[in-house]
């Protein structure tokens, strides 16, 4: 009982205690805020990198046509962890408006399939900054969506698409490509945040894309896109799908397609986490210094406690509890203030920009985000706060050991 009582009194008596609490607070708060923003950026960038890609993409060598997509999609859906699968027509072509033309990457999707069109719908809503009616009306012809930065066509304009399509079927003799053309009406723009997609990407209804790439006799596709359940590893799922479809098909997870950027982001965040962890270590050294000073300051009282019958464990417990309490209070304050801060970080940024005339964070300009992206990982919050408390308790070990080593009569004489 006296351990808790004296630890509290000793802590309150030394103003340096508040400095130590402040150091833990600063370390945990900074780590929480910086890592949550970095994870937010990572998440945002991963989504941006992914663009219109789904979790796993299935194709055939040389872009050959995939018949019986319904059967294939059924086999894919039977694989564990697969949520949905749908056919896509994808290829390069030209968009023309009058005499002006541009090279584009064309995606053909079934707009009526909510899984197939989920990302496109999200991109369109991102551009319009509001919910849209889906699927788009096709009464005036094929509804076409153009990337935000594609400098051709306005909403409502008629545009043509042209490809020089070879026969998508295998032929032992070379064939000459022939021009194929379809028309459509610009239904709107989309914003994927991937500059390449927003400058080059075009979405067409699946039937128009099949006609354009001559995949309509019978209707087929040259890609199958797959969506996985949350938490399923795309690379492992790709291997399972490959096994289910056999060697004539190639399944690849999106993170393998964008492997370099994804791994770069992960490594970058790991390095930042390690650097930030040093702040916690620094706070631990602060606690060690404060408690060590307290032991020196309290030599006489430690001697008295031993004279009054305080055991080694009790005396050590006072300082171990003090260190743990410093960590606990500092980390709790940091979490209690850090989470609301992260919740309102864009408001704070806006306030800084408007009140102080400061330009705030350059997130929007540098990353193309609407604000500072934040991703709070509850497990990480617990790990950061728990790590800080553990570091504080460890930092108290040396002062506690020193206190137990003091001889009572010497401590009473020198105190």
């Amino acid at each position: 009982m006296y351990v808790l009582f004296l630890a509290t009194r000793y802590l309150r008596s030394l103003w340096l205690t508040y400095l130590a609490v402040g150091m833990v607070f600063a370390g945990v708060f900074a780590m929480l805020v910086v890592l949550s923003v970095m994870w937010g950026l990572e998440d945002f960038t991963r989504r941006t990198l992914r663009g219109p890609l789904s979790d796993v993409i299935v194709s055939r060598p040389h872009g050959l046509r995939m018949d019986e997509t319904g059967v294939l999609c059924g086999r894919i859906r039977a694989v564990a962890g697969v949520k949905a699968a749908w056919p896509v027509v994808e290829g390069a072509g030209l968009i023309r408006q009058g005499s002006y033309s541009r090279g584009v990457q064309i995606y053909g999707l079934d707009y009526a399939d909510p899984e197939a069109s989920r990302e496109l719908r999200r991109f369109v809503e991102a551009k319009r900054k509001k919910a849209v009616t889906w699927p788009p009306s096709s009464t005036d012809g094929a509804a076409v969506f153009l990337g935000e930065h594609l400098d051709i066509g306005e909403e409502g304009d008629e545009v043509d698409f042209v490809t020089a399509a070879e026969s998508p079927s295998y032929s032992p003799t070379p064939t000459m490509p022939s021009v194929s053309r379809v028309s459509g009406k610009v239904a709107g723009r989309f914003l994927s945040r991937s500059y390449w997609e927003d400058a080059m990407g075009v979405y067409l209804p699946l039937a128009q894309a099949q006609r354009l790439f001559r995949l309509n006799h019978p209707p087929c596709a040259n890609r199958l896109h797959v969506r996985l359940a949350d938490g399923i590893d795309d690379r492992a799922a790709a291997i399972a799908i490959q096994d289910a479809l056999g060697p004539d098909y190639r399944a690849m997870g999106w993170s393998r397609i964008a492997a370099q950027q994804v791994e770069m982001l992960a490594v970058e965040n790991q390095i930042i986490a390690v650097i930030m962890a040093f702040m916690i270590v620094l706070a631990g050294f602060g606690i060690l210094a404060v408690l060590n000073m307290q032991v020196t300051h309290k030599i006489g009282e430690i001697g008295l406690l031993k004279a009054l019958g305080g055991g080694r464990l009790g005396v050590a417990g006072i300082f171990l509890l003090s260190g743990t309490a410093i960590g606990l209070v500092g980390a709790s304050l940091a979490v209690a203030l850090g989470l609301p801060f992260l919740h309102h970080i864009n408001g704070v940024n806006a306030w800084l920009m408007s009140t102080l005339g400061w330009e705030g964070f350059y997130m929007a300009r540098a990353y193309g985000t609407d604000g500072i992206p934040v991703l709070i990982r509850p497990g990480a919050v617990v790990a950061i706060a728990g790590g800080a408390v553990l570091a504080s308790a460890l930092a108290a070990l040396w002062p506690a050991w020193r206190a137990t080593r003091l001889h009572p009569t010497e401590a009473l004489r020198n105190g």
Binding site: Y2, G309, T409
Partner: protein
Amino acid sequence: MARPVLEGKGLEKSFPSGAGPVKVLRGVHLSVEAGEFLPILGVSGCGKSTLLHCLGLLESPDAGEVVLDGRPASSTGAAEQAHLRNARIGFIFQAFHLSPELSALENVMLPARIARSGSSWLGARREILARAESLLDRVGLTPRAAHRPAQLSGGERQRVAVARSLMNRPAVLLADEPTGNLDSQSGEGIIRLLEDLAKEGAAVLVVTHNEALGRRARRAVRMTDGLLTEGI
């Protein structure tokens, strides 16, 4: 003859120094009964305090044994010695040694806090508080119960220390120069208090170089060259 509460049997103690070990206690024999007030006289540095520390289980003798309540005490483990110091021995120091963060009342209650774990403390808190208040009342410090040591005079601090030493109803009170830092009036008050405690049944050992104290006690011992002699 009453059975002794505290005995020192052939106590020897030496401390290292640059010129070799200094032998401070050279086979000291001492026996104190319940209700006895025993001054230990001697010049500074003769080993009085070392003897008191050995008897109070704060120092381990190099040879010999301290016997408390008829049982060997100095040869037991550190935890048992800590328990005996808490339950059977009360200490009063020349420098008071009060905790500056605690009030007079909290200082008095400290030995009881040390003796109890969380649940037993909570169960006995009212009783402990009442005893601490009555002890402060006994030393005439009820109005100063909430004061910190820094707000008390030297005499008042020593009276708080006496009240603290009585908290766990010890069998033995060990006072090391209890009047050394006090004026004569305050010192006299403390000595009378200790004499009263002896009359109530505690064995009180007082280390002092005050010859007058030796004369007014029924029995006194003198320490010379690491050995005790009876009488002054």
